[in-house]
């Protein structure tokens, strides 16, 4: 350094012609722990607020579900949603949540000729009265018993379940109204006997 540098600069910076060096002490564990903790909190925050990259979700909504819940719904959509819920509670354990049936438990509902009828009157007899004995579904023989699983549901709820069955998994048949159920319920009476396949075939569609 030059001699004519002032006293001040002499005391304030060392005449260091060597290049700086760095010590090699390692980063302590706690800072990694803090990093992981913050990452955990950060992911929780993203999970709560981020909508998981769904481009339709804007603040103040936090997720796709919240967004769906806030949408106005048609009566049909409401019935389908209620039908799905009851179907999965009462029917799905045997017929399967995908409506494909289960071997040695219950025949399929998707594509079944018993479901894909013009009206739902014949179909409505099955959950209201039960079904016993041999039947043919999609070319296969089935021989087992089903209790009157739907007798405990209200007209509206059962109508929704049938609407759901007739409108899901590729089935595209019309809605079932609570009035249809009311009519069949009156027909089968208070303590019905399970119907046989043959007897059902005599019912109007």
């Amino acid at each position: 350094m030059n001699d004519d540098m002032s006293d001040e600069s002499k005391s304030c910076s060392l005449p260091s012609s060597t290049e700086p060096t760095a010590t090699r002490s390692t980063v302590p564990m706690w800072i990694f722990v803090v990093t992981l903790l913050l990452l955990f909190l950060g992911f929780a925050f993203f999970d709560k607020k981020g909508g998981w990259f769904d481009v339709r979700v804007y603040a103040p909504y936090n997720s796709s579900e919240e967004l769906e819940a806030a949408q106005p719904k048609s009566a049909a959509a409401v019935a389908m949603a209620a039908g799905k819920k009851n179907y999965e509670t009462y029917c799905g354990s045997c017929h399967g949540n995908d409506g494909a049936g289960k071997i040695a438990q219950a025949p399929p509902l998707s594509g079944s000729e018993w479901v894909m009828t013009k009206g739902a009157e014949r179909l409505a007899h099955i959950p209201l009265a039960g079904l016993g004995g041999p039947i043919k579904v999609e070319g296969k023989d089935w021989n087992m018993n089903m209790a009157a699983m739907g007798a405990g549901l209200s007209d509206t709820d059962l109508a929704a379940v049938l609407t759901y069955i007739r409108g899901s998994w590729g089935n595209k048949m019309g809605e079932v109204s609570p009035d249809d159920i009311k009519k069949v319920r009156a027909e089968v009476g208070k303590a019905p006997q399970p119907y046989t396949g043959e007897k059902l075939m005599t019912m109007p569609e």
């Binding site: 001040e8 005391s11 910076s13 260091s16 700086p20 990093t35 607020k49 981020g50 979700v57 603040a59």
Partner: protein, 471 residues
Amino acid sequence: MKTQDPRAKTPDATIDASCRLPLLVLFNGAALWLVLGLALSVIASLTFHKPEIFACCPMLSYGHAQAAANDLLVYGFCVPAALGVMLWIFARLSQTELVLSPLPFIAAHLWHLGVLVGLVAILTGNTSGFAWLEFPRASAMLLGVAFVLIAISAVATFGQREERELYPSHWFLLAALLWFPWIYSTANLLLVTNWPVRGVAQSIVHWWFTNNFIFVWLALVGLGVVFYLLPKLTGQPLRSKFYALFAFWTLMFFGTWAGIPAGAPVPAWLPTLSQFASMMLVIPILAVAIVLVKTLRGAKLFCGGSTYGYIRLGGLMFLPSAVLLVAAACPQYSRVLEFTWFGAAQVQLHILGFGTIVLLGAINEIVPLIMDKPLPFKKFVPWQFFLSVVGVALFVIPLLIAGVQQGHSNFEPNAGKFWLKLSMGGLVLLLLGSLLLLTNLFLMTLKWKIALVKTVAAAVVAPLENSEVKS
């Protein structure tokens, strides 16, 4: 050191002299733009409070002056000053003369020409309309080419190093050399072309660029310079290499995601991810704080106005600046502080309190070395330090208060007016400080040029020696 291996060691004076020409151009231009930028900031502040004051002159309306001031501060001062400091640090760390030194000398002129073109364009209203990217295409291209040319020289010098193991500043400064061309070209290609991205994607690209440039790039440069000069000036080793490395990776990894405001009208995952990344910045802040505190603990020097004072204070300023960035991203605070003066205060603290003070310290340290002469007015160095410190405090703190007031009274047009007026005082002090630097640098260059001319003239008019007459 020198006696150990006289063959391999290049004297420091030779290394410094090899940097002289490019650094002189870079630093002189930077000082001039700093003065102009701060003057335009003062003008913008005046027109903000009294719009009719320059009614005669549309060039000086708030929109023109504010944009020009911001761009001059970062493109005019911070980038060329940083490039100059980087070249010198690379040469010193490599212990070789600057490689391809004509390249940065030419590029420095190109850079300043680009800034001049951009300044004229902004003042005459030919801007792109994106904050921090107002410079028109011609100017952006000049800046890009100049930056790459300087980076080539820096990297070539880096490649010549004898000590193969990298020093922490190497990572920060090399990353900065790569970071700027990446973000600047991306932002310009996506926003300032004939085929810009459409709709809300423009805002997203723009937020990304602003954060990556102002926060990440400036942090890489500032910390790289601090981690080099702090150990050098204190005679202490940097404590430690691995803390610095940890800060480096976490800063780059999390910093680049931050910046999209919490209330941005874009799909929720973008601001949420951005807030997440901002919160993670706590980690590099902790690491940098540990490095600074541990390195400074050993230093027994106390002298406010020396270059050591600049580097120490500038380095420490990174901490409040980054903490404010994190705080503004917290959902509880962002509800109040977003889109107020608070954000502007954070940006200005980062540019003026952290980046500029570190670079000023480095310039004041380097210029006497490369010129091999003390500064003409050495007293200006501490004076400028005190003006800058008081100026930044007086500028930023009132802005922060104004931001909080504004956030609490959204529909009150005069919220925080008093504090905004007060902050103008800080700008005036900063302007005075920058004039001191400009005076020192220009006088020094002038003296050097006169000496050069005298030497040449003396050689020309010198009487011929007898031996030559005879032959």
